[in-house]
């Protein structure tokens, strides 16, 4: 595998470049058109995403026989794994932009900046999915984080939003600082920033007694703190409910899906490529600790979601729990586990974004995020309620909805390695989760609203809803999505 030089790499880097270019275009357009409430910038961003998608597909065709391409002297890697995540992230961003267009909450003046930042954060996430160097990892992480902080606090006159941004940045800065410290230790021990070589180097110094296991352990745990914060796993999850609740709903949706997906991309690449070799960590029961983290994450997420009355916050906890499910697949670093994560992320993208979209719609129409606001929705807006029910039951994992198949895949992977206890905990968590998801359904279907007027939505709204709802029903039933993992390998 050759490492391409800088200029040669540019062609393969075109998706990212396009994003940056369009971010600039958005800002310039915003400056030119004077009317700062114009939605044209959003459409430009969408076009940008479209162009980027085309570029991704083109670059994907360069990858033959699963042979990854290394760019910029090994800083970045273009492989099926990266392409998968880029497409996923792109879809999430596109959805976020569409949500933002419809969110009354975000009916603000600084549209240009907002969409530019969205494109920028997507760019950062692309990097997270493809970095193979400690430096790039750190830069990618910081790019995503910094822009996310701003987006979370984007509602200038909302104390909630500001508080969210404040907590986010404080937490994020400490976590990424900790991670950076860990990265520096790793760098020191391995003598290189190249993820591809780190594992071999560490193994060598460990074998020669140059460094102790403890040092490696501390370094990795520090790094885990940074990644754990991105995927909101216990005990690094505590920022997420507050930030999710405070941030504008589209951003919450974005964070809960895209940010988490990017975090998992980083996690998988870092541990699979960097530390997937058992000989490095043979003195540490790595599987056990990750399994514990996974079990704790889903349990804490689900239990804490039980008493919530704010749907946004409830979904925040639910997404913590889903992070825990996803971690199950990551525990073992097996191909099945990877495949399960890929599949689950696809499903999760649709069902979780869909659920958040309904939250956006209800916040617009009923002006509330509380469960009480969902009362009688079934009669006021049957289609929206139906879609929401589909999303929620899919999140629970009820067949024949896609969420079930996603979980099935994950549990399959876990049981395949003999971790029956983890699978059981995960499954029992699904049962618990039913309770709070069903509370929303109950409010929508079994209770009656004080205000019984029908809610009217535009055709576009229904179209967008069905964009999420239809895949949520069908993804699991189609063979295609299960085979994605066959095309993706991590080396």
């Amino acid at each position: 595998m050759e490492s391409l030089k800088n200029i040669e790499s540019l062609a393969y880097f075109s998706p990212e470049i396009l994003l940056v270019v369009f971010a600039a275009v958005v800002i310039i357009t915003d400056l030119i058109i004077k009317n700062r409430e114009s939605e044209i910038v959003a459409y430009i961003s969408l076009v940008g995403l479209g162009c980027s998608l085309v570029a991704i597909l083109i670059t994907n065709s360069f990858i033959s026989n699963n042979e990854p391409i290394s760019l910029f002297f090994g800083m970045i890697r273009l492989d099926g794994f990266a392409v998968f995540f880029k497409i996923l992230l792109l879809l999430a961003t596109a959805a976020t932009i569409l949500f933002s267009l419809r969110s009354e909450e975000l009916d603000i003046k600084l549209k240009g900046e907002y969409y530019a930042l969205l494109l920028a954060v997507t760019f950062g996430m692309f990097l997270m999915a493809s970095s193979t160097n400690l430096l790039m990892i750190f830069i990618a992480l910081e790019t995503v984080s910094l822009t996310s902080y701003i987006l979370a606090g984007f509602l200038t006159h909302s104390p909630r939003s500001s508080e969210a941004a404040f907590k986010y940045i404080t937490y994020g800065a400490v976590a990424s600082g900790t991670m950076l410290f860990g990265l520096s230790m790793l760098f020191g021990m391995a003598g290189t920033g190249d993820l591809m070589q780190i594992s071999a180097q560490i193994a060598a110094v460990l074998a020669s007694g140059g460094v102790s296991t403890l040092s490696v352990l501390i370094a990795i745990t520090f790094i885990l703190a940074g990644i754990g914060y991105k995927i909101a796993s216990v005990p690094f999850h505590m920022w997420s409910p507050d930030v999710y609740e405070g941030a504008p709903i589209p951003i919450t949706a974005f964070l809960s899906v895209a940010s988490k997906a990017a975090g998992f991309a980083l996690f998988l690449r870092f541990f699979h490529v960097g530390f997937g070799k058992p000989e490095i960590l043979q003195s540490i029961d790595w599987v056990f600790i990750l399994a514990i983290v996974s079990a704790l994450t889903m349990t804490v997420g689900n239990l804490a979601a039980l008493p919530q009355r704010n749907v946004k916050r409830l979904l925040a906890y639910s997404s913590i729990a889903h992070g825990g499910y996803l971690l199950m697949g990551a525990v073992l670093l097996t191909p099945e586990g990877l495949g399960a994560i890929f599949f689950y992320l696809i499903v999760y993208l649709f069902m979780n974004l869909g659920a958040f979209y309904v939250v956006v719609l209800i916040a617009n129409e009923a002006g509330t995020e509380m469960i009480d606001g969902y009362r009688g929705l079934a009669s006021r807006a049957p289609l929206v309620a139906g879609a929401m029910a589909i999303f929620l039951f899919s999140l629970t994992g009820i067949p024949p909805l896609a969420g079930f198949f996603g979980k099935w895949f994950l549990f399959y992977a876990v049981i395949g390695e003999g971790l029956y206890w983890l699978a059981l905990i995960g499954l029992l968590n699904s049962v618990v989760s039913l309770y709070y998801y069903a509370r929303i359904v109950k409010a929508m279907y079994f209770e009656t609203a004080e205000d019984t007027n029908g809610l009217s939505f535009s055709k576009g709204t229904f179209a967008l809803l069905s964009v999420f709802a239809v895949p949520t029903i069908f993804i699991g039933l189609l063979n295609f999505f299960y085979t994605i993992s066959d095309k993706i390998t991590l080396q």
């Binding site: 403890l214 352990l217 216990v234 005990p235 690094f236 505590m238 409910p241 239990l303 979601a305 039980l306």
Partner: protein, 731 residues
Amino acid sequence: MIVPLISIILLAPLAAFAIFALLGLAKRNFPRQDYLSTVAMLAALGCSLLLIQEVVSDPKPITVEWLSLGSVTFSMGFYLDSVTVIMLIVVTLVSSLVHIFSIGYMHGDPRYSRFFAFLSLFSFSMLFLVVSDNLLGIYIGWELVGLCSYLLIGFWFEKDSAANACKKAFLTTRVGDIGMFIGMMMLFAEFGTLSLYGDSGIFEEVTTLESGQIAWLSVAGILIFCGAVGKSAQVPLHTWLPDAMEGPTPVSALIHAATMVAAGVYLVARMFPILTPTSSLVIAYVGGITALVAATIAIVRFDIKRVLAYSTVSQLGYMMLAIGAGSYVAGLFHLTTHAFFKALLFLGSGSVIHAFHAMHAHHDDEHAESDEHDDHSLVHEHGSEIPPDQDMRNMGGLRKKMPLTFITMLIATLSISGVPFVFSGFWSKDAILGGVLGQAMASNSPHYYILFGMALIAAGITAFYMFRLIFMTFFGEPRNQEMHDMAHESPWVMTVPLIVLAALSFPAVNILWFNENYIEPPPQHHIHSPQRVYVSPDSKTADANSGISLFGISEAEAAEDESGHDAEHASDGHHGHGPAHTIAMVLSICVAGLGILLSWLFYHKRRFSAEAVATTFRPAYNLFWNKYYFDEFYDGVLVALTVWKSRLFAGFDLSVVDGIVNGVGTVTRDVLAAFIGFFDNRVVDGLVNRVAAVTWSAGGRIRRIQTGAIQTYLFVVIGGIVLIILIFRLF
């Protein structure tokens, strides 16, 4: 020829019912359901009579595979031997007469059609029971007659007493049926079939059993007998039958005197080949005790129908005793004669009741009021207020008002009392007594002497209370003039059946029983003693010259029933029949005469005061009057539970009386509901809810960690890192 005949016998009544049911779905009635049912029944009767000649040729005309389960097959089929045919005739005959009688008796009832439909259904079920060749079929018929009994006892369901009685009847008999079913399960588990006849039938298989293997067979036999105990109202499950008198009187005559209750005897007779000495003895004793207990209770009843009901119980006990003691033929003979004269007595009493009030509507109204306090508990109170039109204390002197009824009932009474030679009841009763005594003499077993004593005493008491009934009802002065004036002879549709039945109380009509070749007792399996021999038909005919051969048969039976007797002993028993028979006959005539005499002195001549005697023998009188406290005992057990409950929940001073009043209903609602409901709600459901609550509160706790202060969060981060590292270092 057999198949069409038997088909008509079964299908005609069924069709009559089906027409009613189908039209009922369309909310319509067949215009003359009474004629329809009656004609169907008469057709069945005709076919039954035709069957007499057909039987001998082929006892098993049809067998169809009812259920096939791969290795096991349950077949349904008919078995027609002479006993079956006689039963068929008895059932169809009595049923036809009751149908006819009901046309008059039930006239004007709002549910007139339904009554006949139910009668038809009953007749079908009973006939099905009779002809079935396997236990499953018998059980099906058995339960169906129970259903019909339920429906007919509760025919006037507006009366709470009727509603209670029908439920009690069904439940009590079902308790016995469970025993029967368990017995069936035992037989099935052993033999893999429930068919009785044929090469692989139970009766054939049972002969292959080795000695020493029959302990379970005794148990199975007794369990099957349990079914008969319930259905034939034997002690201790007899309490339902007197209550069943809440049903219309024709029903009492048909179901609760002539046919259904006799089905138990028939069942035991059918199962004769598998009865072991032990189970036979149990059956005999239960029968004997029942005969005695019921007879003594009957002495002190005033309700005309209840006297007859207890009399029925007593007579059924007699039959059981006979079969248990090995007098197979005598038992069945008595079954037949009893069916006729008891049906006659009931119909006669119905005629009297009918005379006293033409309108059932009155009847209903009175009851509605008197039963106000009923609380619909599971088992009702047995307060047994006697309806005025059934109270013998209101009767008297009806002889002249209702001559036909009087004469026919007198004939029946003479028959049941065992007045010698002229009446069939004498012969059948004598056959039993002679059989038991013969058995006793042959075996020298004290058991059979005791049983003989019981039977003899019961015979005397029977004569006494039956004549008491006659004297109180038809003789003397009217006690209730107002009611007496209302009384009138019944219309011809009601008297004709009485006359026919009266004719049937003479032995000449029961000619079949005197043909010793017509009925042969089935060989009983003598599993345990190899030296036992089967009694060949020859040994019976050897005694044919004794005039009435069935005594010989019964004694031959008796002889073979005792273990340790070899062939010679058996034939000894044969020769010993002469004195046994004679002694029994003499004794029987004596006790009957004594009973009648006493009755005459007490109730006609009033030489003695029944009240004075009652006062003198207060404890015995109380015992009889309270029906040996059986009902009280059953309630008592349940009340004890109530008391226990009261102690537990509300302190002991909650009155026991209250508990009695509330009866089982309270037990059920409070104890069971309190316990099971409590258990289900609190323990089973509670555990689940507990888990849910714990989960929920865990959620609340986790939530509290989320304080909102960012530095707490950061502390958790650092703490988490340290913890992970520590965990790694420690392990």
